[in-house]
Symmetry: C2
């Protein structure tokens, strides 16, 4: 592991009785110190052992969040915003104890501004819930991390997913936020206008801050018209390299693909088993095209030609919704399908992102590492963005497997950084990538981040121990 055991990292002290009394009085049954509730809030999807908060509060409003923040601020109590618990790098672990502030019941779509192609939601709204609630508007929200994450959590980790190549990430798609500051003030960042040059970009500062700078209580995001036509395609390639080269050409030609995903042979085997498909166990690309009827046909034909130029075989279109769904559901289930390759396992998931010109080299050298590993390591990738995940299947009870997984991850990250890339394309830093962040940005840039943290949360009560250490 490239970090100290999380639980040992920071000193803990018991909750002050005044805090317990004040929270009990205000929140009643929505304040809990039960072991089960704390256990549930002291973990995420990472393989880390849990680190429990001292108590959990379920908030229903911005005012309640502000009251909790003021109380924690006055008493120096750590405060960790919690959505649905789907983060992957230990973001939610209460390494210094304190309060886990569960926002999952703040799950109302506040206002749909259909003419403006925007919607304002509370942070506990999940991406699937949002799309369900707005589907009659003719609009949709494209950002789709693997899990059915909350929008608050997706802001916190600067999430993306399979549609980012066309629609961008949370960075590009959040217009405005309501934020509760560390000392319990309520501010609004941004406006409902599509663009602005009005002062520092506070919105973007909170996006990706992993709950360490403020607590988001309302979020306004961009929506997009549901495409008139959608078609999907799948194509097998003789090698990973030829598949990646086809993607580079597609993007250089300006074909506005909505999705293009790489799936390696081992991941194909997992998908075949899990979804009862019979794809050849070869490197594959999955495509989706959005546009007019004529537009998606033209895109698919262009991509088919490019694929053929690179040895792509069996390019198969799916325009019927049920065929498309079958294909893309298989892709979306890939994580769970892969977990079934090794019964009882958990996953250490790498998340590097490199300039697309280096993607074939990066994946190719990574494949060589993986062949030497004793662990099953399927690869899936958002290749249009240069982002790929090696899903390293481990038994977390076996230190040898955890060490091997961490060693692989370290090699992959070091390679990506050497190629001008980043240690995390979409999962965030959490507890797990703090050392890599230093390698990526350097201590001087980290000092700027620390200075911002000190300025906005001088007592370091917000999600302490995450992203970077408090000093060099």
């Amino acid at each position: 592991m490239n970090h100290p055991t999380p639980q040992a990292a920071l000193a803990r002290r018991p909750l002050p009785p005044a805090v317990v009394q004040a929270l009990q009085a205000r929140f009643g049954e929505r304040f809990s110190t039960s072991a089960g509730v704390r256990e549930h809030h002291g973990r995420d999807e990472s393989p880390f052992p849990p680190a429990l908060p001292d108590a959990v509060v379920f908030a229903h409003s911005t005012d309640e969040v502000a009251a909790v923040a003021r109380l924690c601020h006055d008493h120096d109590v750590p405060l960790i915003p919690y959505g649905v618990g789907s983060s992957l790098e230990g973001h939610l672990l209460a390494v210094a104890g304190g309060i886990s502030l569960d926002l999952s019941q703040m799950n109302r779509v506040v206002a749909l501004q259909a003419e403006d192609l925007t919607v304002t939601v509370q942070p506990g709204v999940t991406r699937k819930q949002l799309n369900q609630e707005i589907k009659d508007s003719g609009l949709f929200f494209p950002i789709d991390p693997g899990a059915d994450a909350s929008l608050g959590g997706m802001c916190a980790t600067r999430a993306s997913g399979t549609n980012a190549v066309r629609y961008g990430t949370m960075r590009e798609n959040v217009l405005a936020l309501t934020v509760v500051t560390a000392d319990g003030r309520v501010i609004k960042t941004g406006t409902h206008a599509r663009k602005s040059s009005a002062g520092y970009d506070l919105t973007r500062l909170f996006i990706g801050s992993e709950g360490t700078l403020g607590i988001l209580t309302e979020i306004t995001v961009r929506l997009y018209p549901q495409p008139e036509a959608i078609s999907a395609a799948v194509c097998a390639f003789p090698s990973m390299r030829s598949a990646v080269q086809a993607v580079i050409e597609t993007i250089q030609l300006g074909v506005p693909v909505a999705r293009v995903e790489f799936v390696d042979p081992l991941a194909i085997r997992a998908i075949n088993r899990h979804d009862k498909l019979a794809l050849p166990e070869l490197p594959h690309l999955f495509f989706e095209f959005h546009g007019s009827e004529a537009g998606v046909r033209e895109q698919a034909e262009t991509v088919q030609q490019i694929a053929a130029d690179h040895g792509g075989q069996g390019f198969e279109w799916a325009t019927r919704p049920e065929d498309r769904s079958r294909l893309w559901n298989a892709r979306h289930h890939a994580y769970f399908a892969m977990l079934q390759l090794k019964p009882g396992c958990r996953a250490v998931t790498t998340d590097v992102c490199v300039p697309i010109s280096r993607l074939a080299d990066c994946v190719g050298e990574t494949e060589r590492d993986l062949r030497a590993s004793s662990l099953p390591c399927p690869i899936v990738g958002h290749v249009g963005d240069g982002n790929f995940h090696v899903v390293i299947l481990v038994d977390p009870a076996l230190p040898r497997e955890m060490e091997e997984a961490e060693a692989l991850n370290r090699r992959i990250v070091e390679r990506a950084l050497a190629m001008g890339g980043t240690c995390t394309g979409e999962h965030g830093v959490g507890l797990h990538k703090m050392d890599f962040l230093v390698r990526e940005h350097g201590e001087d840039a980290l000092d700027l981040m620390r200075a911002i943290k000190d300025a906005l949360d001088p007592k370091h009560i917000l999600n302490p121990g995450k992203i970077f250490r408090a000093s060099r």
Copy 2:
């Protein structure tokens, strides 16, 4: 005016002799205290009277910039980064004296990464120069403010222009920066990967910070494939409202227009005179479509139908490059064409941006204000973004005209803020919109901006007196 006379705003003190000696020794003829050079660097395109720096330094490298920053930091000397001087809100005025750091000679394209669709440039590279230098690559950089601004300046003001509806603004298109901090350290933000979740978004923090947080010395931006086909169209409408409604429908349908610009009858008159065109003096929309041959035809046909539904007349396509250029050159010259409506005038340019659903109301109510004004006030707008400019033509020597212009601007901004918009869509705050910024965000949000300023530039040497006052 809604702010104190800039020159009176802050105390000035002479340059310390040690600073003069050190700069003379290092920079020789690239250090100047001549009246002409200082005069040139103490103004921008705003109608403010100039406020001269005490000296100007022409930098050639990141190391030189860092050396100047360290010197200014050690001696508490104001330091103002300067590109080509095309800002519009007094950004460059040396209201507290100090050094104007001219970066225009740092104008090298450092590296084109064609496969990655990115390019790294020095801050003095202008947008036209960049597109000229990369044109054989098949790629282009879409962001086009009216002036041939430097990329450093475009980062500083979070610039956009006519292509933002399709390609976004500087906010969406900068991947990485080299930044010299207030105390002369050199940091890198971001990477060459298309997306990242690695820590606080320092890149976005510097974009739009108007030279108050750091000095940009290298900039990596995204490029786009030159479209296979481009077509343009122009269409007259019976009213501004019908034109705007056509734009809303176009965007809601998901037609990926590259540009859609509103031009009001008075601006059409100016353009007709300046560019020898004969467009009817009616509200117009100018369109540009990028895509495949079939794609641009389909887009134009869809938009033609939408325009017809809203009373659009004389929808005229231009697919030949010379016809397109004639049309869009006219639009790009509009600012100068409008200045010629009133010989010897200067312009006070408003820059509000509202949610597109409110655009027709906002422009409509603004038109009523303008009819009551004694000043010529043509309107042009990036309507796909909800951003429009009233170009108020004034004689800056006549206080009555300046006051009337400021009163108009104030009414327009207040209206936009009430509609959920922003006081500045793309020009920035500078000296001119500091009070509006408070109205837009509130003092609590401004306190966060002040805290960030204090953290990154504790001595307040970087472009002092801009964006917000140092305290409430």
